[in-house]
């Protein structure tokens, strides 16, 4: 039973721990996810702003470089003297410093007299750089992002046109469009008017092509993400879109090449290109989930023509989340183990007094009514312990009472039997002399020579003697009345009831009484209450003679008569493993007033009366005893005639 309590205690603690850790695991992970994502978004937003700053710095750099170059002296000589080589020298110097893809000079008569590539300057050039053309009209610096057509690029350098052409990579999203190639170029261009002595000489221009460019995106990645890698993969990626097309990126495709030519998802396209908003969220880019940020690039005219985007692969954060989750799990398991341990300790603490109570209950049920509880606990268990002790006390008192009652009853029966036996003895002894008195009185009365006085005296003697005779007869009748209440009785039942009556007394002494009943014993006509007093007397004698922990075995069976006749008889044996009887005492056992018990404990009549009762039922009592080993009292009762 207490194991169940232990089980329940541990399981409930376990359940509680699992519940609490489960909940904290769930919410903790959720919160951390949230925090990580929001932190990641913040970070990526910051990275995006940095990227934009870098982008605009590039534009500013081109702008300021060209502006400074325009301020140089000697432009007039160059233009007027057609000193093209000199201009070309300046342009290539400039280009070398800031890495321009193309540059050139357009004279105030709209003639491109020099290009960085040296290409197409001899013939009148129909294609003037569109940015330079604006400056020709505005006569002020123009700088910004422009989309140039393939022709415009080809005019600068045919090689550039080929390099900047982008092949669209087929994917499911691309199917809706039939364009296979993108020939337009996203560029950053600055064009600056050149003056000398307030005379407008022409326009110097230069720019970089973003299509298929790697320098910007890689520089940005290096600056912003410091080339951080995770499992061999770059954590951060930077992409430049022309409209929705990746034209410059370090996002890789599955085959490990830059994912130039792939398209932006429609969702982002709509948000950023159409609605002009900044977009920061999780996005699945080609192969991986990323936390990405997108912002539109506006060209010189204010139209959103492209997108700058940065992304961080989510698995970096996923790993962090996984690690955190793992820590949570480890803590949870530790918690569960602690709960189990705690459950064991608690249950031992709680159940120790309970176990003790169970032990004591067992002792009590075995008849030991004076158990000790080592230490009374506090609280409910303590209450239980004190209540239990009180209960045992009550039991003890009740047992004592019961014992007194059964002893009283036994003494009563013995007294009655003693009176009967006494009366019978007296009657027997008196009747003989009475016979003599009666005989000789009557014989005297028969004589003829008696005078009246003598006759009258003799008659008085005869009458008085007859009165004595009647008194004795009455006494005998009374003793018969006390003695006899014969009825068909079940001897086994009488013994069982007797044992029940005195079992508690035996248990107090921790003596077990076993009854081995022969169920074949027929009912016998006897005085059951007297017979019960015999059995009770014998068992009480046995209890008194037996040390604590001893045993008393009562058994019944049918036996051949010990008297040598063919009659069968009932044998009742009350055997104990007590102190036994000394041989010299065996003969006196059944004498009235013989007792081995302390003064006041026994009347000395018990066995004498028992013998009388058994003899009255036609039976005998015999004793077998070995000092130190125990005694057996054997009652033999003849079967009723109809049972023989």
């Amino acid at each position: 039973m207490n194991h169940n309590i232990r089980f329940y205690l541990i399981t409930s603690l376990l359940g509680l721990t699992i519940m609490v850790t489960g909940i904290s695991l769930f919410f903790g992970t959720y919160q951390i996810n949230k925090a990580v994502i929001s932190e990641a978004k913040n970070q990526i937003g910051f990275d995006l702003r940095t990227t934009i700053k870098i982008y605009s710095n590039i534009e500013k750099q081109i702008n300021s470089s060209l502006s400074l170059t325009a301020l140089d002296q000697g432009w007039g000589d160059c233009v007027n003297g057609y000193n093209v080589q000199h201009i070309k020298k300046r342009l290539s110097d400039l280009s070398e410093i800031i890495g321009l893809d193309f540059s050139g000079f357009v004279r105030n008569d709209s003639t491109t007299i020099c290009r960085q590539s040296g290409y197409n300057t001899t013939n009148p050039d129909p294609v003037i750089n569109p940015v330079a053309r604006i400056v020709l009209e505005k006569k002020s610096t123009v700088s910004g992002t422009f989309i140039l057509t393939q022709e415009e690029i080809r005019a600068e350098d045919p090689k550039l046109a080929d390099l900047s052409t982008i092949n669209l990579i087929n994917s499911s999203e691309n199917n809706q469009q039939n364009i296979k190639k993108e020939t337009s170029c996203l560029t950053i261009v600055t064009a600056v008017p050149v003056y000398e002595n307030n005379l407008f000489l022409g326009v110097i221009y230069g720019g970089i092509i973003l299509n298929n460019s790697t320098s910007i995106v890689d520089t940005v990645r290096e600056t912003v993400f410091q080339n951080e890698t995770f499992k061999g993969q770059n954590v951060g990626t930077v992409t430049i879109f022309l409209n929705n097309l990746r034209i410059s990126t370090n996002v890789l495709t599955k085959s490990g090449v830059r994912a130039v030519g792939t398209l932006l998802s429609r969702e982002v396209e709509k948000k950023v290109l159409t609605e002009g908003e900044t977009w920061i969220d999780r996005a699945f880019i080609l192969n991986d989930w990323n936390i990405s940020a997108y912002q539109g690039i506006k060209d010189y005219y204010g139209k959103t023509v492209g997108i700058l985007s940065v992304g961080v692969i989510e698995s970096k954060y996923a790993q962090f989340k996984k690690d955190t989750f793992l820590v949570f799990v480890v803590i949870s398991i530790a918690g569960i183990l602690i709960a189990v341990l705690l459950g064991f300790i608690l249950s031992r603490l709680v159940l120790k007094p309970v176990d003790e109570l169970i032990d004591i209950s067992k002792k009590v049920s075995e008849g030991d009514l004076s158990p000790k509880i080592k230490k009374i606990s506090k609280g409910e268990i303590g209450n239980l312990q004190s209540t239990f002790l009180k209960m045992i006390d009550t039991l003890r008192v009740r047992d004592l009472h019961q014992k007194e009652e059964s002893e009283k009853q036994l003494i009563m029966t013995q007294k009655q039997a003693s009176v009967g036996r006494l009366a019978a003895g007296v009657a027997h002894e008196i009747n003989n002399p009475l016979t003599g008195v009666l005989t000789f009185t009557y014989m005297l009365l028969r004589r003829d020579d008696l005078d009246e006085e003598m006759k009258s005296d003799l008659e008085t003697i005869a009458n008085a003697t007859n009165r004595v005779k009647d008194i004795v007869k009455g006494l005998l009748n009374f003793s018969r009345q006390v003695k006899l209440n014969p009825e068909p009785s079940d001897i086994n039942k009488i013994i069982t009831e007797t044992i029940e009556l005195i079992e508690n007394q035996a248990l107090i002494k921790r003596i077990r009484i076993n009854f081995d009943a022969d169920i074949n014993i027929p009912s016998k006509i006897l005085d059951s209450s007297q017979f019960q007093s015999v059995v009770m007397n014998m068992i009480i004698n046995a209890i008194d003679a037996t040390d604590p922990g001893g045993r008393i075995l009562v058994s019944t069976r049918i036996n051949l008569s010990t008297k040598g006749t063919k009659h069968k008889e009932i044998e009742i044996i009350i055997a104990d493993n007590g102190s036994g009887i000394a041989p010299e005492q065996l003969d006196k056992l059944f004498d009235p007033f013989f007792t081995t018990k302390e003064v006041g404990k026994g009347t000395g009549l018990g066995l004498a009366v028992s013998l009388g009762i058994v003899e009255n039922h036609g039976g005998t009592i015999s004793v077998e005893s070995q000092p130190g080993k125990g005694s057996s009292f054997i009652i033999h009762l003849p079967l009723d005639h109809n049972n023989e």
Binding site: N432, G436, V437, L476, L484
Partner: protein, 139 residues
């Protein structure tokens, strides 16, 4: 006329004396015997019309003695006397065997009546006319 001979076996001298006094007054020839063993010895040399036996004697009980004598000398007539009809099995045996019984103490008339009845009673028809003794027992 042949004198009827009667043997009285009882351990109490006063009872023996009483019986002798009563029975001899009616011309019975009375032999007294204070113990069972002596009684058996006496029986070896002489026969009796009736044997009066007390039940409770120190050496043995009268019923067993009567049984023993009955075996040895079939047809012997008995009158059982006792001052105390317990223990019960004795009374049961007496009733069952329809023996003649007279409780002590008795008056001369009662003894004579019982003796006459016991002698007259035919052993083969024992029990037919012994209501007196039975009645005494049941009292």
């Amino acid at each position: 006329m042949n004198k009827k001979t009667i043997l009285v076996i009882d351990d109490d001298a006063i009872v023996l004396k009483s019986c002798k006094r009563i029975l001899e007054s009616e011309n019975y020839s009375v032999t007294l015997c204070p113990s069972a063993t002596q009684g058996i010895d006496i029986l070896k040399s002489s026969a009796f019309s009736l044997i009066i036996i007390d039940i409770l004697m120190p050496c043995c009980n009268g019923l067993n003695l009567s049984e023993k004598i009955e075996k040895e000398y079939p047809g012997t007539k008995f009158l059982i006397i006792s001052g105390y009809m317990e223990p019960k099995p004795f009374s049961e045996i007496i009733i069952e065997k329809k023996m003649n019984f007279l409780p002590k103490p008795f008056t001369p008339d009662e003894l004579l009546k019982a003796v006459k009845f016991a002698i007259i009673k035919n052993p083969e028809s024992t029990g037919k006319n012994n209501k007196t003794s039975k009645g005494e027992i049941d009292e």
